[in-house]
Amino acid sequence: MKHSIQKEITVVLALELIAVIAACALVTYRNFYSSALKTSRDDSRNAAKAAGTIISEYGLDTVTDPENKELYGKIRRRLRAICKAFELDYLYIYTIEGNDECHYIMAVASKDENDRIAAERLGLGTVRDCHPLHAQEQAAIKGEISDELLILRNEFGGDMTWIVPFFDNNGKARALIGADDALYLYNAGITRHFFVALIPISLLIFIAHMVLFFIIHRRIVTPVKTIANRMRTFDPSHEEEPLQVNSQDEMRSIAEAFEKMSRDIHLYIENIASITSEREQSRAQLDVARKIQYGMVPASFSENRNGVDVSALMQPAKEVGGDFYDAFTLENGNYCAMIGDVSGKGVGGALFMALTKSILRDRMKQIMDPAAVLNKVNDDLCTQNPEGMFATVFVLVIDPKTGVVTYANAGHNAPLLISGGEVSFLNPEPGIALGLFEDAGIRNGELVLKKGEGFLLYTDGVTEAVNTEKAFYGAERLLSLLKNNTPKESSAAVNSVKNSVEEFFTGCDQFDDITVLSLFYRSGETVCELKPALEDFRIVKQTVTEKCPGSSGAKKALLACEEAFVNIVSYSGASYIKFSCSAGGGILTVTLKDNGMRFDPFAAENTAEKDFESFDKGGMGISLIKQIADKAEWRSEEGNNVLTLTFKI
């Protein structure tokens, strides 16, 4: 604190105290001075007049007669009595001869010592130079009295002198009578009276100031300090005790205002805390919603072994989005794949997505015709859509036996077609988003895929991904990506798009879900990606069994496959195993492709004959494969081990 009110008030009060006392002293002193002067003047003149009266009794000439010493002494005693009675220092009578010669007649003093000196030095006939004459003396010569102050300081001490003329019986001013009032007595009187008057006044003023100071301290400084302390230690997370301000004045209202403010802040903080926790809770619920949502789309297509190779990816944005995809086998053996995007995000979008996806899947399984299903679902959504939400959907159905694809579009982005070594946008009838208008009138399109040809379906999260320069990823970039590096299988297509888009928006937030689904036609071939885990062998087992119905060689082929599969799982460290299987013309071909450690099972060091006794440590697998398979080949392809086994069935 740079300044303290208390200090300032103390200083101001002290200065004021000094000023007031000084003023009082001045006034008092002036009063006493003038009254003391008047008293001294009157007393002295009266004494001088009394002395004059005594002289008159005898006559001036008698007194000044040098022969009449006895009388002189008598008069002198009488004058001295007056001098003492009036508390004068000296009393004397003299004449002025010429212009400035004082001829003393008689001088007395109150004190014995002074009186002796006066008798010696100012006795009858003593002449002293008294040039220049004082105004009082000049007046007295003329028989007048002057009020002009005369202070004499000489060998007889400091005196205030009052001079009156002495008149003879004829009324003529014959001599001057001087009465000296002792200055020290006079001053002491003034001083005594001055202090007697001033001390109580000063004391009173001082007490009044102390009271004022105390009031200010108690009513202003202390409450201000209390409030300031409370403000300094104010902790909004704790309820405060009421402020102890013992007053009912403005300070009380400041304290009350502060208390109200603290309570309000406390309340706001509690509110904020509860709002925050509510927000956390709803965020957690949104997380759950998102997990449920992503749980609704198939995570892997390892079971789709029906002449198509499908991969898909949904990269969620921060918010719960509205993208979806689905792929499944229909009862008639055809394979259906779809992708969609519902309007709006958040919980509303997610719910509408869940509804749309469920209805689509159900209807597709019943009706199995893309356009008919989209029209039907559109009608369903129109009747159950109070919020006016809508969904864009692209559905295709492929006949794995012939490669015939039937597709229908409901306002969704045109998919990419990878066909004849070219990549181009499929140009379906645009259709109209589902849920907007009844009678959508969506119609099927049709094309035929050859083996190894396919689609890439995507949502606008791909084409509308934004980079740091606020540019869109765009359909053209997507097209040229696939043109430059035309994928031959679905997982390569999906990963290529995913990596490209992610690289594109590096440094920016992902605004929308990024959803991609790719489908390639394989004809009689089954392709799927398996996890390197023993339980995934059941897919191989099921596929091989299905491909070789009623064949006695199936189990042996399966044995060879198992040995190969188990070797990869146990020793290669691969993160995936791509399994493809085709059967036809009495030949079953199985290919296992893994990204594990390079290992040629048929190299000489791996096929050495082993002793029966060490068979419990393993080492029979490769031997069995070689014996069972009609052809067993290994090659390394782009860092992958590719094992191809051919069996006659």
């Binding site: 189990k555 044995l559 006794e613 068979f615 419990d616 029979m620 031997s623």
Partner: protein
């Protein structure tokens, strides 16, 4: 796969049914390891065994070692027999049709 144990004095018969593949073989391993110490000979009844992989074959070799050769394979079906032959087991094990 299922393993059923029949004890007859110091001879134990384990009936091994179904698919004895990599995932199922630990079950046979467990059954063999739990044999009492007084068991003198072991018979594996493979009448209802449909499939055997090298993991199953390994368990048979392990059982053969544990029993010091007192292991008999009984009711071996042709499919299984051909696998055993491929591995050369027919020359080393006591196999009954």
């Amino acid at each position: 796969m299922a393993v059923q144990k029949i004890t007859n004095g110091t001879e134990v018969t384990l009936k091994v049914d179904g698919w004895l593949d990599t995932q199922a073989s630990p079950e046979l391993e467990k059954a063999v390891s739990e044999l009492e110490s007084n068991v003198e000979s072991l018979v594996l009844d493979l009448e209802k065994l449909e499939y055997i992989s090298s993991a199953g074959l390994r368990q048979i070799v392990a059982a053969h070692k544990k029993m010091n050769g007192k292991l008999t394979l009984r009711h071996v079906q042709p499919d299984i027999m051909s696998v055993l032959s491929m591995a050369g087991f027919d020359k080393r094990l006591h196999i009954e049709a």
